[in-house]
Amino acid sequence: MFIHYHMTPTPTTMHPEQTVAEAIELLACFPFRHIPLVDDEGVLQGIVSDRDLRSAKPSSVAQSSQRAMVESKVMQTRLSQIMSTNCRTLSAMATVDDALFLFEANAIGALPILDDERRLIGIFTIGDLLKAYKTMFGVGERGAAMISIVDDGDPRIMSKLIGIMEEKNVHCTRLLRKSATRRTKAMIYLRVNTYNTRAVQKAIEAAGYEIHVPYSAV
């Protein structure tokens, strides 16, 4: 869950005294969309995104005679003049959940990760967040299937389910319990690593639990 394991370490950086032109060139060559700006000691000064760079350029409706002049001026602009300085950051000991809340509450796409001296050690993007949760829940893991079980409130249901998996020698990689909402029943999600999901379902049903089938009559 620590951000340290999911961030991109030592990301490409620029110096705040470099120009917009250089930043545009850099983003054109790489798939990322954020550039952290650091001083000579590696201390974070700000961040620029492709959006900041786009909005620094003159709008297309500007008079064509002035446009070239404005554009060349913009291209020479120092990044320190357009960067976000009060950007949100996290420490390496922060968690993926911290990042989730920050992304949710702020319209940002990337979080610089800093050490105690505010030196940049990594960057964590929304893409990294998705990947982290994907790994955590095992989404797209080859060779797995998910079984949904209605949570009947049995206080020992979790241990019983695991017991069944052990007894049947089924490799189970995730067990997740979720309480009811207005739209869904209380549910337990079990990710198993076997083709023979029917045998698993039968064993669970034999123990008296209900397999939730995610459709009624399609």
Partner: protein, 321 residues
């Protein structure tokens, strides 16, 4: 029934000796027997011919698989192991050589298609199945990827580079997608139960191919419970995909575990739906591939429905206008 077409069954008695250990394992020799029985009691019983396959050569296996996997597989069975990597992948002492014979069925079938100019219906009645097998490991009862090895053979032996693989098994053929997704000439179309619910958890609609192969993968996941109505809606999509890809040869991953009574998937296909699929596939083959269509058995585990569904599929392939 179409005049003059025979059903060529590429099959070998050795397939029944691939022993998956009994117990609750669903991939059992009886699967082939129920299909044979259903065919023998079908309206096309009189037009069945048996073609004994040759084993796939080492070079042909290596057209997809890694040498290391071949060694590992062979070593595992010869040393008496009962499964490879995962208890799903049960083996017996003979499983390696039987798997090479299973992979060979498609190759013998292709030779036949190329000789008789697509006149006959070719069905590889074979096991172990193949579509989950990856280049370097087995998965989901599959050891060698029969469909991929056949596609490579069609390319290498007959120069038919534009091979399409259409897989209507209830499960996504992850191994076929891995093999073909980065290349521009081949394509893979799969109808399967949605990966959020179903084994092997792959086959997302968003995956359309990689790099030079962008646009060559068509994943068509269906929600649990989907049947005729949902499948019919997919057919025009598959047809226009063929118009785009213009394949010259077609391999069918013919699995029958999407049947409503087959508990290995939540899909709810009816038996007559397989006739519709057979008819649709015949038309694809006729309109795009000069009838060069090779069907290879994949899954299907409900014994009575398996025989019936496979016979329904063949009836569709053979159906007259």
């Amino acid at each position: 029934m179409r005049h003059g077409s025979s059903l060529i069954l590429v099959t070998d008695p050795a397939y029944s000796r691939h022993d998956t250990g009994g117990g609750e394992h669903p991939e059992i020799p009886e699967r082939l027997q129920v299909i044979r029985d259903a065919f023998d009691h079908s309206p096309f019983a009189q037009s069945i011919h048996i073609l004994l396959p040759r084993p796939a050569s080492r070079a042909e296996l290596l057209s997809f698989h890694d040498e290391a996997w071949l060694f590992r597989f062979e070593e595992a069975v010869l040393s008496g192991r009962t499964y490879v990597d995962h208890p799903d992948n049960q083996v017996c002492y003979e499983s390696y050589s039987i798997a090479t014979l299973s992979a060979g069925a498609g190759l013998s079938g292709i030779d036949r298609i190329e000789q008789d100019a697509g006149q006959d219906i070719i069905f590889c009645l074979t096991r172990p199945p193949g579509h989950h097998a990856e280049a370097n490991h087995p998965l989901g009862f599959c050891f060698f990827n029969n469909c991929v090895i056949a596609a490579r053979y069609w390319q290498n032996r007959y120069g038919r580079n534009r091979v399409a693989v259409l897989d209507f098994d209830a499960h996504h053929g992850n191994g076929i997608q891995s093999a073909l997704e980065s290349e521009p000439d081949t394509c893979y179309i799969s109808i399967h139960e949605h990966p959020s619910f179903s084994y092997p958890g792959t086959g997302w609609e968003e995956e359309r191919g990689l790099g030079a192969g962008k646009g060559t993968v068509l994943n068509l996941p269906l929600p649990p419970g989907a049947g005729e109505e949902q499948v019919r809606r997919l057919l025009p999509k598959i047809r226009s995909f063929f118009e785009e890809m213009q394949p010259e040869a077609l391999i069918i991953g013919a699995g029958f575990d999407a049947h409503v009574e087959d508990e290995m998937s939540g899909l709810a296909f009816s038996t007559p739906l397989y006739t519709e699929l057979g008819r649709f596939i015949f038309e694809l083959g006729r309109d795009f591939c000069s009838n060069r269509v090779l069907s290879i058995l994949e899954g299907g585990y409900h014994l009575p429905r398996l025989g019936e569904s496979a016979a329904a599929y063949i009836a569709g392939l053979l159906k007259d206008d």
